[in-house]
Amino acid sequence: MWPGELLKRLLPYLFLLIAVSPCHAESERGGTQGLDAARERGVALARKGRHEEALRILRPLLRAHPDNYPLQRDFIIISSWKGDCNAALAEFARIKRPPQLETYFIPPVADCAVKRARGGDYDAGLSVLNELLQYQPDSYPLQRDIILITIWKGDCVAALDRFERVRGATELEPYFVVPVSDCLLDRDRPKEALTLVRAGLERHPDDPALQHAQIKAAVELKVDDNYDDERRVVIFELASDTTDQGLREWHSRAEFSAHVAPRTRLYTRYLATRSDDAQFSAGDLDRAGVGLRHWFNVQWMIDQEFSTDVRHGGRAGSATKVVYEPRDTWKYVAAYASLAEDDLPLRARANGVEASHWQGSAEYNSLDYVWYWYGTVNDYDFTDGNRRKSLFTTVGYAYEMLPHREQRVYLEWYQSRNTLDDAPYFNPGRDRSLGFVHRTDFVFDSRYKRHVDSLYLTLSDYNQDDFGSHMKWSVKYEQDYDFDDAQSLLWGVAYAANVYDGARENEWRAELRYVKRF
């Protein structure tokens, strides 16, 4: 506790002490008038700064009346004013706890507890503060001091758990914000650290410790998460599948982006899809787009893109995506595309059917990578009058995390509904599936920064109105290489035994994604 703040904090209580005078209140109860008068004399001396004289009066009284609460209380307060926290806390430990503690009594005891913790006896300090907290459960200063001592003790996990209780507090003292931010960084929560520090800087813009903490968090995000990356980036994706009733289709997408302003990237992209079957060539796409991604801060990002069909001129489209990441563990996305692209079935495109697409999603990743949850709702508005609404959610759990192997299970639920009865593309009136996925990651100690192979095995029960329930299964193998900080490659191949309108179909899919930063 800083002296200035201590004084500021104590002044109202001093005033209260004088105005309300608990010593008076006690004395007026009668019966112990001599004792109260002596105590009162001591308090009066203490108020004048003559602490030792006051204590000389109170000590013998306390020896004679060891369980006299007002005497104990005033002795503790005056000892604290004098800076003798050992005496104050020793006496505090003796007090038989009353149902209430006077509000002016709590700060001097709390200050002594902090002082003791500063001396290295963290547990003793915490024990006193936790006791005080029972009398003032909503006290911000008490919570703050407990959090600080817990951090000094080296327990960031417990400190951050408790920090949740005061997250909305507006005081944001630099001496509090900086260690909490360090803890957040220690626990791989850089976005929250930067958000907290920036809030602190709004209140204390010239504080050098906060300024340093801000750069530290920003560096962490930049290095580990590529936040506000200044490098140019090329992304190339290629996929081939037979998911549209056995028709092989090729999808490729290339994107180039550059840092054009702080937290802003400009990008251009080209998308091409091709069908192996010439009769569906009308569904082929060649779309070029240009867009801007801007991060307002680490929590909010907007992506606005405009695109046009370079094959069939005039089919312009726009896509907007807003991403909100309030915590390092949570991510929410809302997106709208006036023209759905390769997520539209080939047969729909080949028949001139287009769609707009709304999407909302939420994702959770626990900090220890054990738990995962994802949920998304989608709404396609087709130009043939069909309206498709779908929901997908999955929850994952890592039941084994060994250095060379991680194993996870996922439970998935999917359901959709289409409003048009007959459509040239797969268009179930209502369907749903419950799936179980097993994923094994093989982590290799290769020459690269990271190399993981993943094997997915999926089994699900699929139910389509009018066609009953069928089992579906799939297997997928994937390799993911982070060669270094600038290059990564992911490729995979999958086989699925699917069911459409009651008929089983075997499908293959292969995909590749390459990212290069310059």
Partner: protein, 519 residues
């Protein structure tokens, strides 16, 4: 010469692939939930998982006696041997670790600080948490446990400099305010001998046998300690150097410990030496000229600014010049070169203590002005703890050998670097190549590829000139990485003017280079 050869071998194995014969040695401390200030603690549940993991992965924990016998050629070690050790003599060893070790049938080594067991100098944080002599006598009865010394009372800090920093009592020549001088070598040796003799005597008296090894407190040791311990029968010593142990490194047994333990990956990193092998050094060169002629308060402000800067740069290595740029003045007390400011010890100490920079190298001229190098460097090595030295200028084998012996006497694990192309070869652990950051990228990349043909690892330093655009340095770093450099940094960092700009330089400075691209 043989010593230098071994040191070079050690370095290579530290960064090379796991070699047949490498023996991982784990150093545990408290086995307790990590809800305390002890960042070395491993939770009990995790400890059990460790033992299970060792079994699942086919590791065979060995005893210290087994290791020593194999070293003496009297036995063979099993495949995948591992040695388990526990420092400090904490009660959790008996309560949490030993039952699990016994269940698995694994031997272990327990090191004790005899003054703590006696209650003569127990630190506050260890009160009530240590084994006593009765406990130890009970534990000693187990054939699976070897109890060794962890010193009598050297497991604490003593004053190492004018400014009052505390450094390990094992290797620090104590700074005495009275007279303003450091402990002499004779005084130091006598103190060490007395301590180790007391530890041996107490263990003999209480446990009925003398220790055959010692685990150095904080892992730090020098030749004086090794000699004194050996003279008292403690021929084998356990360090915390992050290098593999093998039969050839005996009597030195290097260990790795857990710091801020997170998960099994940490254990596997130690067992496979992966972390050490994959570590890429990133550094800045720091000069201390700004500290000259400043008051103590101003020096503290400068030091704070320097530490804050290094923390933001996230470098894991710092190269410090202990002489002024013109080499006429020194930043450490010595008998020959005028002292500009006695700050080196404090700067090194604070870098290690406050921002955890574990690798500190000194940039040294082969000849410090007109003063005799041996005399000046002997004092430098005696009073300061650092991990390596980099000689500038051309050094021949004979001259280098003399200098290396000075530094290795005080720190046997110290690493030696010389300029690439230098005539000196023996005892060298790495080369240093310097490029001007303003050179064209293709030139830097080409020269990097050529430099990496050298017989030892190469550290690349990009010389940045004042006022040079940051883009030059960024481009140079990309080029040096394209060439395969895994150890690189730059000079002339202006920590007061944020030059180069932190947010621009750090991503390039910290970028990972695929292993195998270069040494």
């Amino acid at each position: 010469m043989r010593l230098f050869g071994w040191a070079a071998l050690l370095w290579l194995t530290a960064v090379g692939a796991v070699q047949a014969g490498d023996i991982p040695v784990l150093a545990y401390h408290d086995i307790a939930e990590r809800h305390g200030a002890d960042e070395f603690a491993v939770p009990p549940k995790e400890f059990r998982r460790h033992m299970q993991y060792l079994r699942d992965q086919g590791y065979a924990p060995i005893s210290l006696q087994q290791l020593i016998r194999a070293g003496d050629g009297q036995g063979k070690l099993p495949d995948k041997p591992v040695l388990l050790s526990f420092d400090d003599g904490l009660a959790s060893y008996e309560k949490a670790a030993l039952p699990v070790l016994q269940e698995f049938g694994y031997p272990s080594v327990l090191s004790i600080v005899t003054a703590w067991v006696d209650g003569r100098a127990t630190p506050d944080q260890y009160r009530g948490r240590l084994l006593n002599w009765d406990d130890l006598r009970r534990i000693k009865a187990s054939p699976l446990v070897e109890i060794i010394s962890h010193s009598d009372d050297l497991h604490h800090g003593i004053r190492s400099n004018l400014q009052g920093n505390l450094a390990p009592a094992t290797v620090t020549r104590e700074y005495r305010e009275v007279g303003g001088r450091h402990e002499s070598e004779n005084e130091f040796r006598a103190r060490i001998h007395a301590d180790l003799a007391r530890s041996r005597a107490r263990m003999l008296a209480e446990l009925g046998r003398t220790p055959l090894a010692i685990a150095w407190p904080f892992g730090d040791y020098d030749s004086v300690l090794a000699e004194e311990a050996a003279s008292l029968g403690m021929r084998y010593y356990l360090t915390l150097d992050e290098k593999p142990t093998s039969l050839q490194t005996l009597p030195c047994i290097n260990r790795s410990t857990f710091r801020k333990y997170r998960n099994l990956q940490d254990l596997d990193d130690i067992l496979t030496f992966r972390e050490a092998r994959n570590r890429q050094l990133r550094f800045v060169e720091v000069t201390l000229d700004r500290f000259a002629g400043k008051s103590a308060a101003e020096q503290e402000q400068l030091l704070s600014a320097l530490l804050a800067r290094l923390e933001l740069l996230r470098v894991n290595t710092v190269m410090v010049a202990p002489f002024s740029r013109d080499r006429r003045k020194a930043f450490f007390p010595n008998p020959r070169v005028p002292v500009a400011a006695d700050v080196l010890n404090r700067v090194l100490h604070q870098m290690r203590a406050r921002i955890r920079i574990e690798r500190q190298y000194l940039m040294l001229p082969a000849t410090p002005g007109s003063a005799p190098a041996r005399e000046v460097y002997s004092e430098l090595a005696r009073l300061n703890r650092f991990d390596g030295v980099v000689f500038s200028g051309d050094v021949d084998d004979a001259g280098l050998e003399q200098l290396i012996s000075v530094f290795r006497y005080h720190n046997p694990a110290v690493r030696i670097g010389v300029p690439l192309g230098s005539a000196a070869k023996s005892g060298v652990d790495f080369y240093v190549a310097r490029f001007e950051a303003a050179l064209r990228g293709e030139v830097i990349e080409r020269q990097t590829v050529a430099a990496l043909q050298a017989s030892h690892p190469v550290y690349f330093i990009l010389d940045r000139t004042e006022g040079e655009p940051d883009d030059d340095l960024l481009r140079a770093m990309r080029a040096i990485r394209s060439g395969g450099a895994r150890y690189y940094g730059y000079s002339n960092d202006d920590f007061l003017a944020n030059a180069p700009a932190v947010l621009r330089i750090v991503p390039e400075l910290q970028a990972y280079v695929a292993r195998g691209a270069g040494k």
